[in-house]
């Protein structure tokens, strides 16, 4: 009995170490200069967001009425605003707001979207149809309208309830109206952000579910749980990473847009959006008040976009070749 002799591989040299697709993608990402620049900016902003309070020379609320509307200087890198607050400190805290909102909103949206999308794709049938109908309905409502409606209808009752709790318990927690802002911003933004994730994951699962390696796993008798965890999820996750990276940037823009319109994070909590809104009113006289937050917002958006593109090329090398 002879078996075909061992064949020489012409595809890989023996001395090259095995490379998993993840490692391969990472190397491709590092070769993409724009993506690396984007990644660096994102890491820098994240660092600023986390360690902001230890980096800023001033508190974001401290008013110095003797130093109002100052132009940028060594003492105040981005100048001061009409209440004499340090704009640099406020931009730093705004970064914190932007990151907290973007991460929490995206996390909620991804959890909802992935769970619904994966189940819809895997089980199909009636469940799939209901989930997709629900997804389409959510997507068809204008985002801004939904957020305004939620804010307008829920803000007053929740604030009143918080005040009542404070009166009853005297717990200072209930005095922090920032929580109401965050709850409403997170809630309404997550509500409009999950459908694209659900659609993406459903499409991924549907396409992977039909691939021969999944059929082969079924033919081996593997359980549904094993097939989902070892075959479908690892292969579906690439496009999700790309989408999340882009989604974080989008969430920051959304937060700024809502804050700009007064339905997001409210003053005095600094947000790039409400700073831009304030700055816009006086931009002819004090352009730095508009330029500083707008530039940082722009930088963050571009960084996430480059990173997203780079991830896309790295994780789907065929598309970029």
């Amino acid at each position: 009995m002879t078996i075909t002799p061992v064949i020489l591989s012409s595809t890989v040299a023996d001395d090259e170490p095995p490379v998993s697709l993840w490692r391969d993608a990472w190397h491709r990402l590092l070769r993409n200069k724009l993506a690396v620049a984007g990644l660096a900016v994102v890491i820098l902003l994240a660092f600023v967001a986390v360690f902001g309070p230890w980096l800023t020379p001033y508190d974001f609320l401290t008013q110095d009425l003797n130093a109002r509307n100052q132009a940028p200087s060594l003492a105040h890198l981005f100048g001061t605003d009409d209440l004499g607050r340090d704009v640099f400190s406020r931009v730093v805290y705004g970064t914190r707001t932007a990151f907290v909102v973007a991460i929490v909103v995206t996390a909620i949206a991804v959890v909802i979207g992935v769970a619904l999308g994966a189940m819809a794709g895997f089980f199909g049938g009636m469940f799939d149809r209901i989930v997709m109908w629900f997804t389409d309905m959510t997507m068809s409502v204008p985002n801004l309208l939904l957020v305004v409606v939620i804010n307008a209808s829920l803000k007053t009752p929740i604030t009143a309830w918080m005040e009542a709790r404070y009166q009853a318990t005297l717990n200072p927690f209930y005095r922090e109206t920032i929580w109401v802002d965050f709850l409403l911003v997170f809630g309404s933004m997550a509500l409009i952000s999950w459908p694209p994730y659900a659609r993406l994951v459903r499409a991924q699962v549907l396409s992977i579910r039909g691939r021969p390696y999944v059929t082969a796993a079924r033919a081996l008798g593997l359980t549904n749980r094993l097939i989902l965890m070892r075959y479908i999820v690892p292969n579906a996750i690439g496009p999700l990473i790309v989408s999340v990276s882009a989604g974080l940037g989008t969430a920051m823009v959304l937060e700024s847009a809502f804050s700009f319109l007064g339905v997001g994070v409210n003053p005095p909590t600094p947000s790039w959006g409400n700073m831009i809104s304030d700055g816009l009113r006086v931009w002819q006289h004090y352009p730095h008040l508009l330029a500083a937050p707008a530039a940082v917002l722009g930088l963050a958006t571009v960084a996430f976009s480059f990173l997203g593109d780079g991830l896309n090329d790295a994780l789907n090398p065929r598309g970029s070749k």
Binding site: I3, V6, I7, V19, L21, A216, A219, N224, P234
Partner: protein, 330 residues
């Protein structure tokens, strides 16, 4: 062939319902496999041939219960496996394996070759974790790959090498029966011969039974014991390799054989070809009566109305055609 068959396929039917319209309110039925009967004997290679859409792959998938049969039976060890749910099917899965066509999507790109081949061994508890590396190297050696490939990822391998891994994965379960679904069609010519040889060697070594699904008749002629010809969801003819190639009875088989080019310029110049006109009709609306009548050169009125019976015209030679006489020797 007096032996009891390993697998008995009886009146197997697979219809797909495709939903049309915005709300899926209109349904259309694809008649993929219709009333197919055949036996597979232990140790043989039964080939199913036919053109795209003839239902040969669907037959393979339905037979393995990877797609739910609409009706009919597939008997394996006395059990009608197509009626089993996934849990009760599991013990049979180990014995009935499949190798697919496309070497580039047959392996999970996120798993190493060692994990791909080792997974079924651990899952079916055919070896302990400690024994696994040795098992995996032995399986890789069986398919002609060096043991160091266990560390590699699929994208680092050529198409032929991946197909060898897919065969090793199927072998890992120690199966009795393997469906080869166009397993060599996507490979380069020089690599095809290697994989054909490998399949033949493994059959001899492990006493495997193959259902070989293919469209390349030269390959089928080379490796089959018996050959079944399908057309638009139905079996047209089934006979031993010698019978089918030297004495085809069904007009479709004759046309199919005549369409295969031979690697011989002298022969090709003188050869009389019977070229079919027209295309294969849609399986959404197969013709009534004999499904081949729209392209058949010898179709009669009866063929348009009456479905020809699946008969054994001489021992071991089945055909479904009104024009073939009982006992026809050709």
């Amino acid at each position: 062939m007096a032996a009891e068959p390993l697998i008995k396929v009886e009146n197997l039917v697979k219809h797909f319902v495709v939903r049309l319209g915005a709300f899926g309110e209109r349904g259309a039925t694809v008649y993929a496999v219709d009333d197919v009967n055949f036996d597979i004997f232990a140790g043989e290679t039964l080939s199913l041939v036919g053109e795209s859409g003839c239902g040969k792959s669907t037959t393979g998938f339905t037979l393995l219960n990877l797609q739910k049969a609409t009706s009919g039976k597939v008997l394996f060890q006395g059990e009608n496996i197509v009626s089993l749910d996934e849990k009760r099917m599991r013990p049979y899965r180990r014995e009935l394996q499949i190798v697919f066509q496309d070497p580039y999507s047959t392996l999970n790109p996120r798993m190493t070759i060692g994990e791909v081949v080792g997974e079924p061994i651990l899952f079916h508890k055919l070896a302990t974790k400690a024994e696994l590396p040795e098992r995996v190297s032995r399986l890789l050696a069986d398919v002609g790959l060096p043991a160091r490939f266990a560390q590699r990822y699929p994208h680092e391998l050529s198409g032929g090498q991946r197909q060898r891994v897919a065969i090793a994965r199927a072998l890992a379960c120690e199966p009795k029966f393997i469906v080869c679904d166009e397993a060599i069609s996507a490979l380069d010519v020089s690599v095809q011969a290697q994989i054909i040889n490998l399949l033949l060697d493994l059959q001899e070594k492990y006493g495997l039974t193959y259902l070989f699904i293919a469209h390349d008749l030269a390959v089928v002629r080379h490796i089959s014991t018996r050959v079944g010809v399908m057309y638009l969801g139905r079996m047209a003819e089934l006979a031993s390799r010698e019978q089918l190639f030297s004495n085809p009875l069904h007009p479709y088989t004759k046309a199919l054989l005549s369409a295969v080019p031979e690697a011989d310029p002298e022969l090709e110049k003188t050869r009389q070809r019977q070229i079919l006109t027209g295309d294969v009709p849609s399986p959404l609306a197969p013709p009534a009566g004999c499904r081949f009548h729209t392209r058949c050169p010898i179709a009669m009125d009866k063929c348009k109305a009456v479905v020809p019976e699946w008969r054994e015209v001489v021992p071991g030679h089945h055909v479904a055609c009104h024009a073939v006489e009982q006992g026809a020797a050709g």
